[in-house]
């Protein structure tokens, strides 16, 4: 396949950055999108250029490190996948592909296509945990039975990989789906209930402090989420938040 790539190049956080056009040939449909970029970078380097920086690690869709806004969509045109699972068979010979970083005020650009998502970590520091000591003296795990349906729902929420696609795709750069996934996981489990009030208040407060926008129920986050985290979680978080506000 022969492709035209329009790639965002930006030296560092201070640099202004710009789109640059490149041509690439010899791309196979079996390649993943990131393997295509590997091949592209090798080619660029052999011509004396500096490779395009992009985030990636596990390359099997689970670590959440890869990002990329491809042709106007977070993680590109396929559904239910991360960029590392996107394959070139989704594109056609001669296509032009636009590649940009995940853009949001709370995700500043580090270099080229790499952004800083540590705002997500700071939201978790504010309350994304259950306060249990790691003493080895916790009660037997089967002492508290958990309804299978609740456990499965908690799992579905916990499956969030923290990639940030929800933020990147949201017109308000809202982090509601990400935060709601964590709040929901713990709200659905008996172990998380005791701290539920503080957790949701603290996490929502931190989310606002990081500069994420508000949710206007557009639902784009759910569509672009590679792990199928559902909007139901945002509804659950809103309920948790309302009731916590009344108690708090």
């Amino acid at each position: 396949m022969k492709l035209t790539l329009k790639i965002w190049r930006q030296k560092n956080a201070q640099d202004k950055g710009a789109m640059v056009d490149y041509q690439i040939d010899g791309i196979e449909p079996d390649m993943s999108f990131l393997e295509m970029l590997d091949v592209f970078n090798e080619d660029l380097m052999s011509k004396g250029g500096e490779p395009v920086a992009f985030d990636h690690d596990c390359r099997e869709g689970i670590c959440g490190m890869c990002s990329l806004y491809i042709n106007g969509e977070a993680h590109g045109p396929d559904r239910g996948v991360t960029t590392c699972q996107l394959h070139m068979r989704m594109f056609k010979d001669g296509d032009t592909i636009t590649i940009e970083p995940f853009r949001a005020a709370a995700f500043p650009v580090v270099k080229d296509l790499v952004v800083d998502r540590s705002s997500f970590d700071r939201i978790q520091h504010a309350g994304g945990f259950i306060s249990v000591n790691t003493s080895g003296n916790t009660i037997d795990a089967n002492t508290i039975p958990i309804n299978k349906e609740d456990a499965d729902k908690a799992f579905d929420a916990a499956a969030c990989i923290g990639c940030g696609a929800c933020v990147a795709t949201c017109k308000n750069s809202s982090a509601m789906l990400f935060v709601a996934a964590k709040v929901s996981q713990y709200a659905l489990l008996p172990q998380g209930k005791i701290e539920a009030v503080d957790r949701v208040l603290n996490m929502v407060h931190q989310m606002d402090a990081e500069g994420f926008g508000n949710c206007t129920n557009t639902g784009a986050c759910e569509v672009e989420c590679p792990k199928g985290i559902s909007l139901e979680n945002i509804a659950r978080m809103n309920r948790e938040y309302m009731s916590a506000s009344l108690k708090g």
Partner: protein, 666 residues
Amino acid sequence: MALDSKIPSGSISDKWTDYKDHINLVNPANKRNLDVIVVGTGLAGGSAAATLAELGYNVKAFCFQDSPRRAHSIAAQGGINAAKNYKGDGDSVFRLFYDTVKGGDYRAREANVHRLAEVSTNIIDQCVAQGVPLAREYGGLLDNRSFGGALVSRTFYAQGQTGQQLLLGAYSAMNRQIGRGKIKMHNRHEMLDIVIVNGKARGIIARNLITGEIERHSAHAVVIASGGYGNVFFLSTNAMGSNATAAWKIHKKGAYFANPCYTQIHPTCIPVSGDHQSKLTLMSESLRNDGRIWVPAKIEDAKAIREGKKKAKDLTEAERDYYLERRYPAFGNLVPRDVASRAAKERCDAGFGVNKTGEAVYLDFAAAIQRYGKEQTYVKGLDSNDNALVTKLGTEVVKSKYGNLFQMYYKIVDEDPYTSPMMIYPAVHYTMGGTWVDYNLMTTIPGCFSIGESNFSDHGANRLGASALMQGLADGYFVLPYTIGDYLSPDIKMGPISTDSPEFEAAEKGVKDQIVKFMNNNGTHSVDYFHRKLGKIMWDKVGMARNAQGLNEAITEIAALREEFYKDVKVPGTDKGFNQELEKATRVADFLELGELFAKDALHRNESCGGHFREEYQTEDGEAKRDDENFAYVAAWEYKGKPSDAVLHKEDLVFDAVKLVQRNYK
């Protein structure tokens, strides 16, 4: 230096309890005066950092990713073992211990493995208390499944994302401590050297990967939790960034490196599709619970399939060779990973492979879909002779068990595994070798500990499925927190360690010199060019099967490649900021040394055991032939300037509680 494993005396089942009763403790007020550095934040490093901080130590944690949540433990799919005996199928601490020692082909340290089995039950309790959503049965209790190499059902799981959920549990425990200020987290930092002052580990030199700044960090002890070195093969199931640098740098400063040749080849991975390939993707071993592995029985059929003239479903059951069920009737498709991997290679080498390159076998769910579908028709009172209905209901059951794995396969291969069998082939997955540690998990550098995959101690020559997660969390949550306190207790009056000493100065200079060298090299080839070449040598000559001739060639070729790398590598850009090529260069430099030691270790071990298969040492029916008389020891290598000069030290393995027998899965 003679190796002292410091295994406590007494009977195997009392060692850990007695040990804990007699170690020195640090009082909580004094823990505030002690700093600990943890390098790596996966299951082992994350759980250790959280627990040490909770105990009161000041923890400085480092990871090269942008968040601790991305550590490669997150990719583990199948599950975590624990001797809970919730199923009442005969499991016990001793049986888990026994299976692990046997599964490791009697090359693990008995005392460590028993401790691991003992604390395994606490791990499940701990994780559930942290809100890890492990799979439940309809009665609300925890569910289990079985895994290769065991006859009991002791594996706890969270769909096919067990590693992710356990890691997020450890990450949440870390978050709690980061929020309290007890852990200072350094994301996007890479440890490039250790600093030793008066014979003790007292700090590290790290590069801030965003600014490029070289930083000095001091502590009273350093914990390495940097994972394995499978990426020495270039193609592996490891994450792209997984590297050996932290472990290799401490080796160069005095930590012995044990059993480097013990590599786990995982039997169920998606086969290589072309030269552009950057990594291999694992399909969870849990699939072997329901998937049947086969190749065509007749070589003509295999050829026809490779040429696209026939399809898997064109062959009747009689025309298929379910070679694992045939060779190992007792364990069948659930034989341990090394046995399953070698059997697949044997069939493919004999010409029965089923993809274009001839390096793939089938993993088939058709029988499971029928079996589950029939069961569902009985449960629901429907017509069990309605084939379409049976298939539909059976597919639903298989989907609920393995749906995410099937989807992953479909996305990569572009073929539907519900209707045509998956193609799989073995790939490098996990390294059982690593830094040598004593019973306290301390390396031969005082004050430098190594936990999880980065040490060598618990898996022997082969790791059973679902035991890596167990070891990572056992070391971090429940073992290191005790042993490090015993080590730190004399240091309570020491005060903060200064970074202004000549030792820090020298270590920093070494790191800077290497970086300057790379930046000014102006060669012609990229880092990946050399990494791929190294990987090819490793896979061809130091991979699933090895022989003396190939190993000797590999040693020479790797040394030559290393020389070429230093002459001809090109690292573009600058060292003053974010530079992914520079990151790769420092890592590949270490792999180019480690690879040679790896081959040297494989060459000296004149036996076959677990993941180490020497073609010269096999039984008449092609099974691995161990030599306990001459090789029942840990090979711990001391660095002497070059991998070829490394000096071998032996820790004899003594088995009191289990009797060494030939592994038999028939």
